[in-house]
Each structure stands twice: as C-alpha cells, then as structure tokens.
C-alpha cells in the first residue's frame, strides 16, 4: 500500500468558552491516501469542519490543537511556522468552502482572482496570466469564460462561484483538496454538476480529496473510504461499501436507519432513528452514550479500544468489543 499523503494522529482540539474548555476533537485518527476520495461524514457539531480547519491551520482564535500530529508529506503541519504554513496552503493543500460567494473577494473580478492564484503559485509571466486563467475557467465548465472573467462575485450564481473557486484551486495544483460541504445551498441539479466536476478534476489532477459532508448519498456516490464522526470523535471508519452494508457502530447504524431515500418509500419508523438529546461533549467515554440504545457501564468510563473488523474497517464501541471477547 502506498504511503498515506495525510496522516492525522491522536488529534485533540480544545475550544475555550469563558472559563471552561471543551475538547471539540478528541483522539481523531485517519489517513488520506494518494489519489483517493476520503469522506468525513457527520451531523452538526461532529467536528468535521474543525478537522479540516485544523489541517489548514485556519482555526478560530479560541481553539488550540493541544495534542496529536497532522503529518503531510513527512512534516507535522502543527509544528510549522506561520510563514511555512502559508507555503503549504493553496499550493499543496487547497480548500473550498460552503457558501462559495463568501470565499471570493467581492471587490475583484473573477478572472483576476484566478490570475492572482496563478501568479502566486506558478510564477507565470504577466502576458500568459490572463490567457491561462480564462483557460482554467473554461476547464471548469464556465461557458463564455471570456465575459465571465470580468464579472464580480455578486454577479455570479452560487454554482458559478463554486466553479470559479475550483478554478482557483486548480491554478495551485495542490496534492490534497479539501471540500467542506461544497454544494450546500446549491440546487440539486447544480449540485450534481459540481460533484461531476470535482470528481473529474480530482482524478485528472491525480490529487486526493477529503470531502466533508452530512449527506450519506454524496458519500455513497463520491467517496471510496469514509470516517463517521460524532461529537468530535471518530466512531467508525470503513470502505464505503462496507460502511453501508455492515455498519457496526450504533451511531452509524441509526444514522443509516434515519435516511429517507428518494428512490423508495419506506415506513416511517422512529424506533430505528436517533433519540432526541443534546450532544454530550463531557462524557469521558463514548460521547454517543447518552443517545445509544445499547449503552453499557463502560461507555461512561472510558473511550473504547479500536476494533478492526476487516482490512480498513475499524469501529470504536464497547458493545462490539464485548461481543468479540
């Protein structure tokens, strides 16, 4: 197996809120391998966006990565100086966010923003910048790119703005792309177009993609492997087929149980869904314990040891460990 491109090891992140501090990420471990699409899936408050921001070192001021390592190409990103990190951002790891229009500079024409990225990362002569940026805009499926390059972000639709961001990302030729809910707020037919484009540019560029989403449909269609997060902890990690066919963590099982599919009607059954309760970040054991239908005493005391069910499929659950013992 090739060496992973990105290795996250025992990552912990704390956020201070007045006097108390809460770990919004705890013991997060996963890899992104070369040329793969890795999914990070979870609901609000699961820490999936925080994980991405930690990789990019774009954390809010109140947050500190207090334990662990983020290894990228042999270097620990958490140990880099800010100026070293700036070299990594964009040119080696690039990220696209939800709400694409907010990620563009509102005072700069779309084409100039692509040209600026080219200038920073590829050192092209000025004469070629414009031509190359229009080529990139065409490449991401913007029709009439010459005219669109002159548009300001507010003149672009959400789908169009996300295409411009993808063009900027391509200008940098990064080895790792991070996409955080890249289609939230876009219509489904546009969403389908954007995912086709992201898959295309990822495989063409030979880059790896870390895709952050709450949508298990997107996971199923785009990702090869996936880590399921809940309340800042990874609950289960597996190949996509394995996860859907053999979900092993009670959270994953219940999450899959609450899906409503558009292609088949099913009886609405809340007894298989996740119980109403707020997220318990303070439990010393498994943070899903307060909503878990199978909770054991051990779940309140300590984090479960990882249990490997098969190659690449790992689950963190006392119940599974007990069954195996």
């Amino acid at each position: 197996m090739p060496e992973p491109l990105l290795q996250i090891r025992s990552l912990r992140m704390d956020i201070r809120d007045h006097e108390r501090s809460r770990s919004v990420l705890l013991d997060v471990n996963f890899d992104v391998r070369p040329n793969e699409v890795m999914g990070l899936v979870g609901e609000s408050g699961s820490g999936k966006t925080m994980t991405a921001l930690a990789i990019m070192r774009l954390l809010p001021p109140a947050a500190t990565a207090s334990e662990g390592k983020i290894l990228f190409g042999g270097r620990d990103l958490l140990a880099l100086s800010e100026s070293e990190m700036r070299q990594v951002r964009g040119s080696e790891i690039a990220m696209i966010f939800q709400n694409p229009r907010a990620s563009l500079n509102p005072l700069m024409r779309a084409g100039d923003q692509v040209a600026r990225a080219l200038q920073l990362h590829q050192d092209l002569p000025r004469s070629q910048l414009r031509r190359r940026s229009i080529e990139l805009l065409q490449h991401v499926g913007i029709s009439d790119a010459e005219a669109r390059a002159k548009a300001y972000p507010h003149q672009l639709s959400g789908g169009m703005a996300q295409r411009v961001l993808i063009a900027i990302m391509l200008a940098c030729q990064p080895a790792l792309l991070i996409a955080d809910e890249p289609t939230t707020g876009l219509d489904v037919t546009i969403q389908a177009q954007i995912f086709e484009l992201i898959k295309e540019v990822q495989s063409e560029a030979g880059a790896s993609l870390l895709l952050i989403t709450h949508d298990l449909g997107v996971v199923s269609e785009v990702c090869q492997r996936v880590a399921v997060m809940y309340a800042g902890q990874i609950m289960e990690q597996a190949g996509v087929l394995d996860l859907f066919q053999r979900p092993s963590h009670p959270y994953t099982e219940r999450l899959l149980g609450s899906i409503l599919r558009v292609d088949e009607a099913k009886a609405l059954d809340t007894s298989r869904a996740i119980a109403f309760a707020s997220i318990d970040y303070d439990n010393a054991g498994c943070r899903f314990a307060n909503r878990c239908p199978y909770v054991l005493d051990a779940c309140w005391l300590r984090r479960p040891e990882p249990r490997w069910l098969s190659e690449g499929h790992v689950v963190f659950c006392h119940l599974r460990n007990q069954e195996a013992a």
């Binding site: 609901e43 609000s44 029709s143 639709s157 789908g159 169009m160 219509d187 489904v188 037919t189 546009i190 969403q191 389908a192 177009q193 995912f195 086709e196 709450h214 949508d215 298990l216 449909g217 997107v218 996971v219 199923s220 269609e221 785009v222 996509v240 087929l241 859907f244 066919q245 219940r254 999450l255 899959l256 609450s258 899906i259 409503l260 599919r261 558009v262 292609d263 009607a265 099913k266 609405l268 809340t270 869904a273 996740i274 109403f276 707020s278």
Partner: protein, 327 residues
Amino acid sequence: MTEPLLRVCDLHKHYREGRSTIHAVNGVTFDVYPGEAVGLVGESGCGKSTTARCILRLEEVTRGTIELEGTDLTAIPRNRVRARRKDFQMVFQDPNESLNPRFSVRRTLREPLQLHGLYSSDSQLDEAILRVNLEEEHLDRLPHQLSGGQKQRVGVARAMMTTPKLVILDEPTSSLDMSLRIHVIVLLKKLQREFNLAYIFISHDLSTVRHLCDRVMVMYLGQIVEQGRTEDVFDDPTHVYTQALLSAIPIPDPTVKRSRILLSGETPNARTLVPGCPLQDRCPFVLEECRKPVPDYDLGNGHRVACRLAREHPHFRPESARSISPD
C-alpha cells in the same frame, strides 16, 4: 367527491424590476382537498415560495383567484383575510427568524389564540406543547434557550394553535440534521391525522416530500410542469425536468448505479418569457415543437405533465389534453 378546501386558479405574480418584469409565477392552477398533504417542489427561483406567499396574501396577486372554501381571498379586503387566517397557517423555514426572540414560548403560543378570541386558559398551551413532543417546562423558555429542533417544533405548535384546516410548511426541515428530520416528519403526519389537516409542503428536499405527501407538484420557472400522486410522480417521472431533478439526488446506497440526466447550464432568469416549454434551453431531448405552447397531457389518476415526450408514455391519453395559453 368532496369539495376542495383550496382552489388556486391561473395564478400569476409578476414583479417590476426597473424596466423589466420578473415573472415569478405564471399560470399556476391546483386544488387542495381537506386532509391531504400536497408537496410543492422545485429549485430556487421556481416560484414555489411566491405561490405560498400569495395564498397567505403576504403578496398581492397579479392575476388569478385563490378560493378558500369558496371565498376568493384575492377579492376581499385585507382585514377580512386576517380574520380567516385562523383557518390557514404557516410554518416558516428558519425558526430563528420566525420566533420573536423576546417572547417566551408561552407567549408565542398564546398570541394566536388571543388574536382570534379562542383563548380560555393556559391548559390549552400545555396541551399544545405536549402535542409536539416537548415538555411543559419549555413553555417558559425563550427561543435562544431551545435547540434548533425544539424551536422548529414550537413553530409547528404555533401554527396548530387555532386548529387550522390548511397549514403551509415552507422548508420546515431544511435547517435540521438528518437524524432529526425523520422525527419532525413523523410528528407532522401524526398532527395531520389528528386534526384532518391539509398541508402544502414546500421543499426542494424530495426525499422528505416522498415520505410526507400524498400528491406532488413540480414547479419550474413559475409553472407546474408535472403533478400527480406521489408514487406516480416518483416512480414514473415523465417530464424531463422531473427526471433530471430526481436523478440528480445522490442515493445513499453504493450498490445502486444510476444514469443521470444532466441539465446544461442554470435556470434562466424569469424576465423574458419564451413561448413553449420553460426547459427548452436546458433539455437534452428538446424538439422543434417544444418552442410552441405545450399542452398539459393527462396520464390518468390525476398525473398530468406538460412535456411533449409524454406522448411516448404508456398511459398517454391525448383526448384529455388541456391547452395552456402562452403568456
């Protein structure tokens, strides 16, 4: 057959914008019967929310009629509409914006009762809060002391206070996590049965519509392009737009491989209306005759579609085709 509760007939809503006109809703006609849940689906800008706002008379219509139990709401003065509001209520998309942040839940729920002279005691409020699976203690909370799912249930409870006949739900689940969504849908279904409510459920989330609605209407560029019983439209979508919309939704099952109809480009703006099918510039199967007005074909069972390709449908019945006037 029972009389429809709501009859929307040839509804148009146009906005002036400088020298141009935005054709938000263009000739929408449909009925809602007592106790049925009707889904109004489509992408942003298709006119689904404008249609709802017209029904609630939050907008003045440009043309057309909206009859609630025989009274044309567009023809009576505003203060009389207000009196009728107890029969038709709305649940809004974002509970953060639709709940008054300074009102306790108690006050939020009491107000509609007082406005319509239905208030007798706070036991009505206890009953209402329990109905949406919250506790009596929640009555004395302010919105910021509630979670997103709880706030949305307060919004639902408020809409039910006056025991309305029709509730319009505008994307009520879109701000909720998937694991909560199923709870809200089950709650809405329970209330619907309990009060024999009719719902107009506005959403772009077709999975939710499939599990909540009896009938569905698909809108594109201000027109209903396809409508019918939910299982007919979802299992046998006939308009190319409906097919594209359904095929664009990722299926959470890696063993399912589907072919996808990708529409080119984006929804055109609604300033200039071209005759014929609204999808003509994006449709991969467009024919020359799609540039001419498209009739509404009847596929039986109330399944109607405005697409020339429907002629290849096995249940196609040309004699019942009804022509839509180009506007």
